[in-house]
């Protein structure tokens, strides 16, 4: 026995070490903290209280990390704010477009081109929709690309369309980008001419030309063509602007009659003024 005690005493470090390792492993095997009981809860509570007492001390590392996080958050919020501002603008624009659409909602009658006539630089189309389809003289005709012409006569099942490739046609038009007004005429060439645009006005190649609200004959904002040539000739206060139509008049097969009738009162007034001017001209002669 004494020998064993001496042996243990001699190697007490190793025995203690083994015993404490076993004890530690036993604690680890307990695992669940709740088994340790309320003592640890008290310790953790005390430590928490002490930690909270020292929160006023600035932590350079933590501050740096917090600054980084705040900067990221700031960037994120700033991006979100910009996106929201853009959404508000876009929303307003879309609402405006919707109102415009509601205000200018046009009905279309689809029609097929069944004939084409050319009489002294006047081009006409015959379409397979007439009075029975509510097509009336004075209604405009377009296709998916742009303005084609205006209905000048109807039968029950057919209508005659005067194309804008017509020497008598004068269309009140405007440039979409700058809103400048002018008059589109056709002088027999491949392109149309936009008249009455002063030299000082802002016109650029590629500008989109639409029908204007000044027109009593055509509904507004129907595409006509694009500016392809701009010339400024000496002695002329107006620009010479050539516009190429979006419509391929040589290959028209399907068109749409726009169920839009000019205001009769306005038409009557213009007609009255025209007759008055003609009378004056005759009187002068």
């Amino acid at each position: 026995m004494q020998g064993f005690i001496n042996f243990v005493a001699k190697y007490k470090e190793y025995f203690t070490f083994v015993a404490l390792v076993i004890l530690s492993l036993s604690f680890i095997s307990l695992g669940d903290v709740s088994r340790i009981g309320g003592f640890r809860t008290v310790v953790i509570g005390t430590v928490g209280w002490m930690q909270s007492a020292f929160t006023w001390i600035p932590k350079p590392g933590a501050l740096q990390s917090e600054n980084k996080s705040l900067r990221q958050l700031n960037l994120q919020l700033s991006t979100e704010a910009t996106r929201m501002r853009n959404a508000v603008i876009e929303n307003k624009r879309l609402r405006d477009m919707l109102k415009l659409r509601e205000g200018n909602e046009l009905l279309y009658v689809p029609a097929e081109v069944v004939g084409k006539n050319t009489i002294e630089l006047r081009n006409y189309l015959t379409i397979d929709r007439g009075a029975t389809d509510s097509v009336r003289a004075g209604m405009s005709v377009r296709n998916d690309a742009g303005l084609v012409g205006v209905v000048i006569g109807t039968t029950d099942n057919f209508a005659l369309v005067e194309m804008i490739e017509n020497r008598d046609i004068k269309i009140a038009a405007k440039l979409q980008r700058s809103g400048i007004d002018g008059v589109i005429v056709w002088e027999g060439g491949e392109v149309f001419e936009l008249k009455n645009v002063p030299k000082a006005y802002d016109v650029k190649l590629g500008d989109l030309v639409l029908t204007s609200t000044f027109s009593n004959k055509y509904p507004p904002d129907v595409p006509i063509g694009r500016v392809v040539v701009i010339k400024e000739e000496p002695g002329n206060i107006f620009k010479t602007i050539s516009v190429r139509s979006f419509v391929n008049f040589g290959a028209l097969e399907e068109v749409f009659v726009i169920k839009y009738m000019p205001n009769p009162e306005r038409t009557a007034l213009i007609k009255q003024m025209d007759e008055l001017l003609k009378l004056r001209k005759g009187y002068t002669k």
């Binding site: 470090e13 390792v21 004890l23 530690s24 095997s29 003592f39 640890r40 932590k59 590392g61």
Partner: protein, 174 residues
């Protein structure tokens, strides 16, 4: 047979162990409450380990092992760690530190760079044991993790052991 009790020596031993206990409590408090202020990323020094090495080198392997176990258990309780992990790691570290114990030569051992090497080696042992349990239930491979965190933590702990060495050097000089 006359038994002579060295009452004076026993009292000084008790006082010494009381100081160790107070130091352990203070260092635990520092480790838990003030560690954030000196943390470098996720790396933190282990002040209790330095104390364990100190005790093992000063008092011998036997006391060192007991001190390691008690400090570890204390730290397990006050930190949110699994009870027993720090106790096991610090017991092992103190056991290794005890090999460097030389009777009446503790001042020399602690007061020179040898102490730093001992702390570094003990810290490696400590971290190896600790991380073995830490990553046991994860998919992380042990050695890359140990090389990344164990080695860095050991170096950082060794840096703080310089202060202990300087204190001892100052006393020797004084």
């Amino acid at each position: 047979m006359k038994i002579i009790f060295d009452k004076k020596g026993k009292r000084s031993q008790v006082r010494k162990f009381t100081y160790y206990a107070i130091a352990a409590l203070i260092l635990s408090f520092v480790n838990i409450v003030l560690l954030d202020f000196i943390a470098v990323g996720t790396l933190t020094p282990d002040f209790l380990l330095i104390l364990c090495v100190w005790i093992a080198v000063t008092e011998g392997q036997f006391f060192g092992i007991i001190a390691g176990f008690l400090c570890g258990i204390l730290f397990d309780f006050i930190s949110h760690d699994v009870i027993g992990t720090n106790a096991l790691a610090k017991t092992a570290a103190a056991f290794v530190a005890g090999w460097f114990y030389k009777e009446n030569k503790a001042n020399i051992t602690i007061g020179n760079f040898r102490f730093l090497a001992i702390v570094f080696v003990c810290s490696l042992v400590h971290n190896m044991v600790y991380f073995l349990f830490y990553i046991k239930s994860t998919e992380i491979s042990f050695f890359p993790f140990f090389l990344k965190y164990g080695l860095a933590t050991s170096l950082y702990t060794t840096v703080f052991a310089i202060f202990a060495m300087l204190v001892k050097m100052q006393r020797k000089g004084g």
